[in-house]
Symmetry: D3
Subunit: 144 residues, 6 copies
């Protein structure tokens, strides 16, 4: 009776793709208009997938209120309405959505256990950057 | 040449999350506003995924008309425009969307074989309860 | 510099379309499966449109936080996760989405003035019942 | 035979809502998290509506290629992947989506005539800031 | 108590934009890739808007079942899964979505009166050709 | 640090489902209205999923500009605004969306290696034929 729960959250943030490892020309070549000075922004849609047994008494994989509290505290409070480039985790790491996605997974995996969500296993996170592209990360495991 | 077909269906139903195993306070604590007396409702979106070889003569995994007939008869006629709490399968089972999802899977797995759809294997069902959360079930197997 | 702001809210509710003015047969004839006993439900999307001058100092038509507070208090707290048939305004009025739509408009028009939103004029409300149908009301005025 | 054409475009930008007319406390009170230092961003969806007679020979209100060229040159090249606060039009004007919306309308009204689009009348522009809120402007005229 | 009902329908059709009034070069210049020989196709979404008094007994603007029957018979049976260029109304008229939109409006205005829908006034039709562009027609009247 | 990138593309095409292996009656029985003479059409949404290590220097799985160039050249230039039945790959193969999906996968798998995208592995393609049905293919491998 293992079932999966997908839950969506939205946040808005700005970023600029730029790496000090590359020259100005290389940055423009590599990141295109995403390298424009002063940055730009996105409405990100985060989809969190957790799995677990459907509890025979409650009929639930996990309590959505607990999951929402955890994501609000650990992710939305940290990233919503911010400039990603100004956050410590992106001091030496380019804030691409790929890197943001792996950070979100790692934070959630650490925090879910502290949030009365022991029965839920974090399967993967998916970050939509725009309507046309999204990224998924499962802790390095395969997603088919 | 194994391919996958995803097909969507929509139905509307009401439910109230409440279990006689718990006290009134425990029910409110557990289910929050979903425990409100008299119930509430949702537009559910059901996504059925079947797999199979692409038939070299017809170019199809299975006939959509047959699949639609089967889902209409076995699922939509049963759940559309109903109060889930009044159905026999939810007499002693809380009609959470997790539980509805596993029932839909079990019914479809049983009925697909009776519907000239032998070539199609039911892979999983996905139920969107709202735009922000959905549940998936694959007969207890892993979904990545 | 008159501009328009559209803001969306979501709530879930159940209803049964049935009128004591009609016989059981007439009710079934008139409302079809929406007359099924015990009711069914929907995820409603409410779109509120207000207009006003863009304030030259703040750059805003009105403060979204104030609008959200007003709609939360006056509409969502009243209708979200309820059975519409059990509410006093639908004691003698069939809770069709048309009637729900006019009630929401009338409540919002009365409440917006009490909520530091004097500069915003309520233009219309739109209620999506499903992805396939929606209703609009503008206090009886024309919408083109 | 007057018909209307709605065309959508997408761009990403960042902004910070902050006015030098107000104190730091007033800015926080007024703009909330939109006042966070360093800004945040959005995927904007721009919908341009033009009207005109359906040409009896071509069957078109106007040529989409011409409209796309005009919007690309006048709007997307200017606003896509930028920080709105760094643009000259927002030097003394807060880059709220209301103000961005009126700027886009004024630019398009001026540019459409230069773009072989004389037969098309700009009716209104609509800017979605997020999935939950949008703004419309029609040159100060009424939109119902 | 005048309210508005929007109802959506979907159909799929193919067309080729080409006019015998123009040379091959002019056709290519005018219609671009829409002039490709053998045609191409779209999933059209049709939105029909009708208005009327909310009936105090039924709580409805009009009966959706009647409206659906009328649109199915008059529009979907005619256009769904067809090649528009092969229909008589497009023998001498280019099947642009503008022209399709005005035809749909004219047919619906004529047929609604024959379908027990006398209380409903056809306000406008909207045809989405793709997610990025749509056309609206209101019998030649203004839409704001 | 294996991550997944999903990227969407849109194209419009027409097709007619018909096989010379079957009689006229069998074709109508098998393909229903999709067998209508002269064909019909769809707006297809193609989702391409590639996987790879997140490059520690660039923060990217692969360069979106390179991926877009490859898909534009190999897929969109070939299929957008065409009649699928007229293409050589569908001379003896019915242009169902299942068959189109497997062709798109095979083309992309061959072309990605020629496009400076060696680090990206093609995982699967997904083709939405309408809002209600879609097909997925992963080179014959399992998708859960």
């Amino acid at each position: 009776m293992k079932a999966y729960l997908n839950r969506r959250y939205m946040f808005s943030a700005s970023h600029r793709l730029h790496s000090d490892r590359f020259s100005a020309d290389e940055n423009r070549e590599l990141y295109g208009k995403c390298n424009n000075p002063y940055g730009h922004g996105h409405n990100y849609t985060l989809q969190v997938t957790v799995s677990g047994q459907v509890d025979p008494h409650t009929g639930m994989v996990c309590n959505l209120v607990d999951l929402d509290d955890c994501v609000q505290r650990a992710i939305l409070n940290r990233y919503d309405h911010t400039n990603l480039n100004c956050l410590p985790e992106f001091k030496d790491v380019v804030p691409t959505t790929e890197n943001l996605c792996t950070h979100v997974f790692d934070i959630l995996q650490r925090e879910l256990g502290h949030a009365h969500l022991e029965s839920a296993r974090l399967e993967r996170v998916k970050l939509d950057e725009t309507m046309m592209n999204s990224f998924e990360y499962a802790g390095g495991e395969e997603i088919r």
